[in-house]
Amino acid sequence: MPVRGTKRSRNADVALPKVKKAETRAHSKQAEELMDLAVDAARSRHLPEFLKRFSARAAAMAEADWGGVVVFEESGAKLHSATELEELRNAPGRKWLVNKALEISRDAQVCILPQEKSSTCVFVPILSSLNERLGAVCLLRPPRALHVHERRLLEALASHAALALENFRRFSQLERSKRNWVEDIDAITDYIVVHDKLWRILRTNRSLASHLGVPPVALVGEAVGTLRQLAETEGALPCPFCVDTKQPREEHIVSARDRIFLVSTSRTLGVPDDDARTIHVLKDITDRREAERRYRELFDSIQEGLFFATPDGRFLDVNDAMVRMLGYESRDELLRNDVGSYLYPEPEARERILHQLHSKGVLRNYEETLRRKDGTLLYTLQNITGVRDASGRIAQMRGLMLDVTEQKMFQAQLQRERDFNQKILNTTQSMILVLDTAGLISYANRRCYEAGYREEEMIGRHLVDLVDSAQGKEFEAALETTAHGHQVENLEARAKRGDGTLGYFSISLSPMRDEQDAVNSVVVVMTDITDAALLQAKLAHAERMATIGRLVSGVAHEVNNPLAAILGFTDLLIENPEIPASAHESLEIILQETQRTKNIVQDLLSFARQRPVQREAVQLGVILRQTIKLRSYDFTSHGVEVIEEFEEDLPATIGDSQQLQQVFLNIVNNAYDAIQEAGRRGVIRMSARRVGDSIEVAVMDNGTGISDTARIFDPFFTTKPTGKGTGLGLSICYGIVRAHGGEIQCWNNDNGEGSTFQVKLPVATEAAMEAAG
């Protein structure tokens, strides 16, 4: 055998004519067998069968007793052979063989069998095209050297085995991946259907078939139109899922009775046109659509405005309420690019929002004024969330917007009304107070404080405390009436003024009711009518005095005529020497009484006189001091104290100093008499001061006071005992002061002791001083 082998190997290198023929024949046979092997390898679909055939053929070709192939697989090396190893005599162990096969490297190797030295095993590695060891060809034969040509044959055999193994491996991978692919497709829960140009179903996945309750193959070859049971569509095409067959890709939504599918369609263009296929993937998006629908419904039906916007102010999506709020025709109009800049009347406003959004992330109850399409302002309250991108910048703004225009307007209106009311309360000349039903002051308008009242004597105090105690009961009764829901108007009462003096007030009380119509407070409007009351009294007095003056003047004149005759004739009689001396005494009495009558008439005329007799500059201070001097003896001897409070540099008045002295003397005499009558230690306080354009002289005593201050200046009104005075003294004073353009008045002192006479005379003007010389 070795010779033959040597021959064969030589045959390849050296051609010897005799041997050559036989060798050539053997060689070509080998080549034929190898070719058969290659064809077998290509045709075989079953690897173990092929390997069996291969093993037998290889053993025959290599003149071996036995042949096998060890294939390296992932699960381990596996031996294939035509004859089972165990059937041989002196066969090596399967394990030894397999392990040896795994050990050999890239070259064929001959190993002696461990127990049977008479036999060897040749291992030829099977290498892939990438030099990967796929397995080994094993041949058992008697020990002999491996000739070159033998080695070549073995390598050729190994490479055929490699080719076959590689083919089988590739094929089985393909098979597996094909099987996997179908499994994968079947595992997809979306429904998949493939149909051809003739609208026949080529394939469906398992999900679709099991949804329809049939095995997948059952649908193959059926018209795709049968799938209408899945979803009824209005399309005119035989396929319910095709819309435009010209499009390589399509996506649309198809609604079934209770399901909604998103149909994604792909079209493959087969190389021959007939092979073109259409693949529909039906995704059941019912739940998603429902969620979306609910979301959209909420989005659109909500009364608050919802928006998604870019930071540069473009709306990405808005709801209907938002469109309505901003006064746009449609959503699309609002989504236009140019709206953003128009929206903010102040361009900085958006920057402000962005800035705050960037720092805080969210804006809660953010007030912003926006501009509607028609240019009117929209007051909004917004809650905005900023969505940031990877770099942390605000990428999107999402917000909810409330239209608070009405509230804002209402608020502004309310504020205006409140301001208006406040203004009325603050600017009115009347004092307005609010009392609780207990009569405590809870509110006083500004006028009260302007009038001089202090807050602490108003708020929380009883208003009745300000009212003259003599009228307290009357006021309380009025308050009670008001608390019972009735208005009291123009209650005239004396009350404390802001400066502490008593004044006259007209008081109106109105009940104020709460929601339950119960009186919970009283609104008091107090108007200081002191000046008006005084003026009215003064006017009435002046008028009365003028009437008396006219009367007195007339009477005086009428009396003067008969008086003139009486006086004249009496004089003539006294002159007459024929009248007896005894009659003279009577005539003298007539004369005296006539004189007295004359004086009374003169006094009356002084009262009625309208102009001073003299007109000169008069210093009242000098006159007052002279007046006091005239009576000082009486005063000191009767313990009457005189306090002088004369202002320095009193200006002059124009008039008759004699008459004015008469006035002050008269007043001082009255004061003295009143003190004498009261029987207490007398004090006469005399003051003179300038007040505006007047000089005010006041004589205050602590005497008995005056029973009727209103009538004190009337002629013949006297409180003194008969014979003590004519009752014309103060009437004369009145006449003189009036004739000087002044005023005289008197009142009883607040402290209840005595009275005060006040004489006001005009300050001499420069012109008057010049005229007076």
């Binding site: 003047s553 005086a556 004149h557 009428e558 003067n560 005529n561 008969p562 008086l563 003139a564 005759a565 009486i566 006086l567 004249g568 004739f569 004089d571 003539l572 002159e575 006539t594 004359k598 005329l605 002084s606 009625a608 006189r609 309208q610 102009r611």
Partner: protein, 131 residues
Amino acid sequence: MSSSAVQRQLPILLIEDEPSVTAFLRAALERRGYSVVQASSGADGLQKLEHGSFGGVISDIRMPGAVNGAEIHAWIQTNRPALRSRIILISGDTANSETQALLANSGTPCIEKPFRVQQLISVVEKTFGKP
């Protein structure tokens, strides 16, 4: 002086509506040697002034009727220059502002009722001179 002498002998016109006053005045003046012509009203006085010649005029200011003392005074100022400073007015009511204005402007002497005989005679002698 001659005219003054002539006038001195002329009667004094006494215009006064009150008879008792007229009677007293006449008695007092005549007792001092003056001759007196009396008029019982302003109108009567004016008539007498127009038709007669008088050494002086004594007139009450306030009189009933159309003509009062002030008008007598005014008429004299215009029509009888010789008598301009020979008027004495008698007033029952100096408080009256019209009266006061008249007296202040003219400087005419005035006697206020009621007056003593001596007062009257002294003013008359000063104004008209002694008879």
